[in-house]
């Protein structure tokens, strides 16, 4: 019989990935709550589609879509992650101790994604409610068409930040190489200070709220502009 304190260790050097993911999916009905996955060696789709309040620790670098569509689980990757980590995350947390490749937390609807290192291009692209804290820097086209949620960047942001953004709150401590269409610097109001402070605390980030600037939508793309009808 397993108890809540037992840790189920799965070695991906000997266990097929599909078997691991199937066990994680089936496990929602009972069984171990804590999982430790070793030897991922850059495998894709590790721990995708988990829908249970598990604690999952992955020892090593992973490939694409790590913990994608995560719901309820708390996933920690002790390493770097490939493209699309936490894609469409619904809830729970994903904590990456290394760097994240492109499209980290893309389309995420909820939950919290923490990247200790850098995230590459298209971080939080089309995010819809997820909260992302990157302690390093992010690449170009991040938060493209971002709809809601918050993106906190303790380092610098690449070109075209927040292009065609809706209502996501973007906070950047360092420099911004360039803002995308309809993205502007906005006032850091009390609500935002509280939100940013809460996220920095949640991520254990050594940064002060006053060091950040906020970026968001100028809301000029929301409506069809009749004056420009001839240009369409």
């Amino acid at each position: 019989m397993t108890t809540a304190t037992d840790v189920e260790v799965v070695d991906l050097a000997t266990t097929p990935l599909r078997e691991l993911n199937q066990r994680l999916h089936d496990g929602a009905a009972g069984g171990p709550l804590r999982w430790r996955i070793v030897n991922p060696n850059g495998a894709h789709a590790v721990a995708v589609g988990v829908d249970a309040p598990f604690e999952i620790e992955i020892e090593g670098h992973t490939g694409y879509y790590t913990a994608g569509m995560n719901k309820h689980a708390h996933v920690r990757v002790n390493g770097n992650v490939g493209v699309g980590c936490g894609e469409n995350i619904m809830s729970g947390t994903i904590h990456i101790t290394g760097n994240a490749s492109q499209a980290c937390a893309a389309t995420g609807r909820g939950g919290l994604v923490i990247v200790e290192g850098d995230a590459a291009a298209r971080c939080g692209i089309s995010m819809k409610g997820v909260e992302i804290v990157v302690k390093g820097s992010i690449g170009h086209m991040s938060a493209f068409m971002a709809q809601s949620g918050a993106l906190v960047v303790c380092g610098d942001a690449g070109d075209s930040l927040g292009d065609s953004i809706y209502e996501t709150h973007i906070y950047v401590r360092g420099s911004v190489e360039g803002l995308g269409a309809d993205c502007i610097e906005k006032e850091l109001k009390e609500f935002h200070r509280e939100e940013l402070g809460r996220l920095l605390t949640a991520a254990g980030a050594d940064a002060k709220v006053d060091e950040f600037k906020r970026y968001g939508s100028a809301r000029r793309l929301y409506n069809f502009n009749i004056d420009h009808a001839g240009e369409y």
Binding site: G42, G63, G79, N80
Partner: protein, 302 residues
């Protein structure tokens, strides 16, 4: 898709085992490119005044010794023939141009895969694991090597359409991505006297680089021009006599991972290739930024 790998040795031990280390990296990229595979190894440079050529003939029983005898009589040749499946390496005591012209005239069915001091290019259609076995890739040593697994998108699966593509003496190119203006560029480059064997887009990029080098561009100038002229998406790995360079298109469409330890520098489309290397878990690992050239070079020992 397509998969790219590269490995640059920083010490003699890695140099001695270069093929054995590169082969598993290439194998890991099989899913990304099951149609054909190829490698460029930089190894055992020819003596001064000599040119090393890698040649290919579709007939596995082709009489290479007759070809070598001819080269020896006209130009002088050192070493024997080193055969690897349907490829052969010959070292001629002459500059590349006259030897290549001589081969093309007398042996029109022989394809010249590469020419230079140190480069050897091997490539063939079929699955990467078969290629690794047939060409005994694990036995190769070298200072650095590039590899490619191809998933064909825009031109035929042939040996000539496989990567790496030679782009000049001791230079080669492997590519993940696709170019959208390659037909126009090919026409322009033909007018400039560059010859093409296939309708492949990467061969156009290789021809473009050949042309820019002929016009006197340095690697940096060449890439600055390429960012302007090549329309499409790409991660390129460019092999030179003394090292290799990695570059991604300005919007970084195609993946690339770099890793470095005190023993080696590795590049791959995905981390899982790099994970096969000893010490990979402790390597400095990062994703190259778009439109930025990353280069490693050995101090030239000549």
């Amino acid at each position: 898709m397509c998969g790219i790998v590269g490995l640059f040795a920083k010490n003699p031990e890695v140099e001695a085992n270069l093929g054995a280390l590169l082969a598993p990296m290439l194998f890991e990229m099989s899913d990304r490119g099951p149609d054909s595979a190829g490698v460029a190894f930089y190894r055992e440079p020819a003596a001064a005044g000599h040119t090393k050529l890698t040649l290919q003939h579709d007939d596995p029983d082709f009489d290479w010794s007759a070809l070598r005898k001819g080269i020896k009589e006209v130009f002088g040749a050192s070493k024997g023939i080193e055969r690897r499946a349907n490829h052969a390496v010959i070292v001629a005591h002459a500059e590349a141009t006259p030897v290549e012209a001589w081969i093309e005239e007398r042996y029109p069915d022989v394809k010249i895969m590469s020419a230079g001091e140190a480069i050897e290019i091997y490539k063939e259609v079929g699955r990467p694991e078969a290629f690794i076995e047939t060409f005994d890739i694990k036995s190769l040593n070298g200072t650095h090597a590039l590899g490619h697994t191809r998933m064909a998108t825009e031109s035929k699966v042939t040996t000539a359409g496989s990567h790496p593509f030679s782009t000049g003496l001791d230079l080669c190119l492997v590519h993940n991505g696709s170019l959208s203006n390659h037909n126009g560029l090919r026409r322009m480059l033909r007018r400039e006297g560059i010859r093409f064997q296939t309708l492949n887009d990467t061969e156009v990029a290789a021809g473009y680089m050949m042309w820019r080098q002929r016009e006197g561009d340095t690697l940096t100038e060449m890439m600055d021009n390429a960012f302007e002229d090549l329309d499409g998406f790409y991660t390129f790995l460019i092999g030179t006599r003394d090292g290799f360079s990695v570059v991604r298109d300005p919007i970084a469409c195609k993946p690339a991972v770099l890793a470095e330890t005190d023993e080696w520098v590795a590049m791959s489309s995905e981390y899982r290739s790099i994970a096969t290397l000893p010490g990979a878990e402790k390597a400095k690992t990062w994703e190259p930024a778009p439109a930025t050239v990353y280069s490693w070079e050995k101090e030239a020992v000549r």
